[in-house]
Amino acid sequence: MLLLLDILTTAAILFVVSVGLLAIFGVLKIINFAHGAWLTIGAYCAVVAVKMGLNPWAGLPIAFVVGALLGGIAELLIIRPLYRRPLDAILATWGLGIVIGQLITLEFGRDVQLIPNLMSGTIRVLSVDYSVYRLFVLLAALVIGALFALTIEGTRLGLAARAVIMNETLARSLGIDTDRVRLVIFMIGAGLAALAGVLLTPLTSVDPNMGVAWLIGAFMLVMVADTSYLALAAACIVFGGVQVLVSTFVSPVLGGISIAVLAALVLRINSRGFSRA
């Protein structure tokens, strides 16, 4: 039971952390290597919110808005000139991540920031006591996933985004403003990343480098999922599960690199990853 809960909540955390990256990669075909920096931005939004005397929960909407706005600026200044050079976009966003990390350091210092937990304590689930917060993240992942699905399947923006994913030239010829779609999707992706940053605060230390630890895992999951959020969910459960199982039964050190290695092998065998499954 404990194992099952561990797997589910680990998958949920991975999903929350990587869904913003997926949105951007899906539509823009660009890997946002500043994703880790946006996680950090989100967490620091929560820090600022608490310092201003707000409820820690207020960090969630603030982070989404701030993340999206900064994402919009980054899209216009950095991503837009690099659509045709996806490898360069990786590098430019990595550089952007360095810049953001250093700016946060200059403003807040390198210290680990103190931030009150959103919720604490445990709850009895069947036979075991389990962390309330981890269960909350599971719920949050389901809500975010559902909203994401609704947006993609049920709104005009989603329709336009799907059109851009399938055939950009055609989408443009149908009168879809693809530049605008990309901008909005990038903002949503960045906003989701910042939101995930807030959700991470009770689970991890808040410091200028906090995002980097999550970046590679999220990146690999998105590579495997390609453009499909359902595939991402599947990848999170499978790889998260493997990570938990390897950590539990073999070695946590191997577990720590299992996502990266497994994802690389899956891609080697089937370059479309999970998206066809």
Binding site: D6, T10, D129, L203, S205, T248, P252
Partner: protein
């Protein structure tokens, strides 16, 4: 390329000429420290305390009539940065001595330069032990000094027999817990689990689930400082684990940033702010007077730096010069009574220390639960007499 090389060499020559100081000039102490990277949280306090010691000594007339001067360099908390920092300090700034708190990787990376440059080096960070070099002295603790107070206390007061060990997968983590396991088994206890996560690992969930399954009497952790430590503690508390918990890598500052999650943690240190001695009181007063609101909480990594500056001063005075060979000779023979008590690095380049077992209170302060006088560092460097 050629133009650049020439430009570089010209600049260097210029710098070298300027930096070259006569014997009447200040005595320069180099402080390579992790201003960036893993140690960046604690580094500012180390620099502050070094500055405090230098200012105090200069105000009292300096050393052999000469002023002390600090040269700080960022080692980026790692090997590559340390090589640059040590090179810069030894060859460019021509320091007379190096006194610094660093990561083991940075210390190791710097040692070849120390040997080549013949510079006395006082290492002021606690570490996993057994690092030996003719030029290096250590005034901070090693596992042999830190672990026994905790285990002895857990055995005596909590009746703890079974232990679960958690660490970051690196030299300090494994070194500390390796010794801990040996010591636990020596006093008749049992280790029911020993787990490591990569240094940058952020998800401790599976390890914590294993811990729950193992049902130990007590937990000992030794992670990399800062982020992993905070992450582990947050997740441990979130999982509802409230067993006796000793953290070998926590300092008062980090404990504060964990907020309520840190409450109840045991730590073992050679310095806590709550030490009740006139020397400590004097030191704390001087520090808060000098730095005011900017004062970084003095801690187990910064106070040894402060004392090491004094130890160096005494060694130079005893040797009668800054000549490295003579200073090296006199360093283990001098003693200084500072905030941590009397320090003398006469045990195979290491120092017997008074250790304090503390417990973090709900307001983030550390309360001393027990004091252990002059704990011996054991055989650290049998080849260095």
């Amino acid at each position: 390329m050629t133009a650049k090389l020439f430009a570089a060499s010209a600049v260097t020559l210029l710098l070298a000429t300027v930096a070259h100081a006569a014997d009447s000039g200040p005595i320069v102490i180099g402080v390579p420290v992790g201003l960036s990277g893993a140690n960046s949280v604690v580094a500012p306090s180390v620099v502050q305390e070094a500055q405090l010691a230098v200012d105090e000594i200069n105000a009292a007339g300096g050393v052999l009539g000469r002023k002390l001067q600090l040269e700080v360099a960022d080692d980026a908390s790692g090997a590559a940065g340390a090589q640059k920092a040590f090179d810069s300090l030894i060859y460019q700034k021509k320091v007379d001595a190096l006194i610094s708190m660093e990561t083991s990787a940075a210390r190791n990376a710097g040692l070849p330069a120390v040997g080549k440059g013949h510079v006395p080096y006082i290492y002021t960070s606690f570490y996993e032990g057994h690092s030996c070099n003719k030029y290096m002295y250590v005034d901070a603790w090693v596992p042999e000094q830190q672990v026994p107070p905790i285990i002895d206390n857990f055995v005596k007061d909590k009746g703890a027999k079974t232990y679960f060990l958690i660490g970051s997968d690196y030299a300090f983590g494994r070194g500390m817990l390796g010794f801990t396991r040996k010591y636990i088994e020596k006093v008749g206890g049992k280790v029911v689990g020993e787990e490591y996560l990569p240094m940058d690992g952020a998800d401790w969930t599976p390890i914590l689930s294993k811990l729950k399954d193992a049902k130990p009497d007590a937990i000992i952790t030794s992670t990399a400082g800062g982020a992993p430590n905070v992450t582990l503690t947050k997740q441990m508390r979130a999982a509802g684990i409230n067993l006796p918990y000793a953290n070998l890598a926590v300092d008062e500052g980090t404990a504060k940033s964990m907020g309520s999650d840190a409450t109840g943690i045991y730590l073992s240190a050679s310095y806590v702010t709550g030490i009740d001695s006139p020397e400590n009181k004097k030191f704390l007063d001087a520090a808060s007077k000098k730095f005011g609101a900017d004062l970084k909480t003095p801690n187990d990594l910064s106070v040894p730096e402060y004392e090491a500056v004094y130890l160096y001063k005494l060694a130079v005075e005893k040797a009668g010069s800054t000549d490295p060979a003579k200073v090296i000779e006199s360093l283990p023979t001098v003693s200084f009574t500072g905030p941590r008590g009397e320090i003398k690095m006469d045990k195979e380049h290491h120092a017997p220390l008074t250790m304090y077992l503390g417990q973090v209170q709900s307001d983030g302060t550390v309360k001393v639960a027990a004091t252990f006088k002059d704990v011996d560092p054991g055989d650290q460097c049998p080849n260095l007499k």
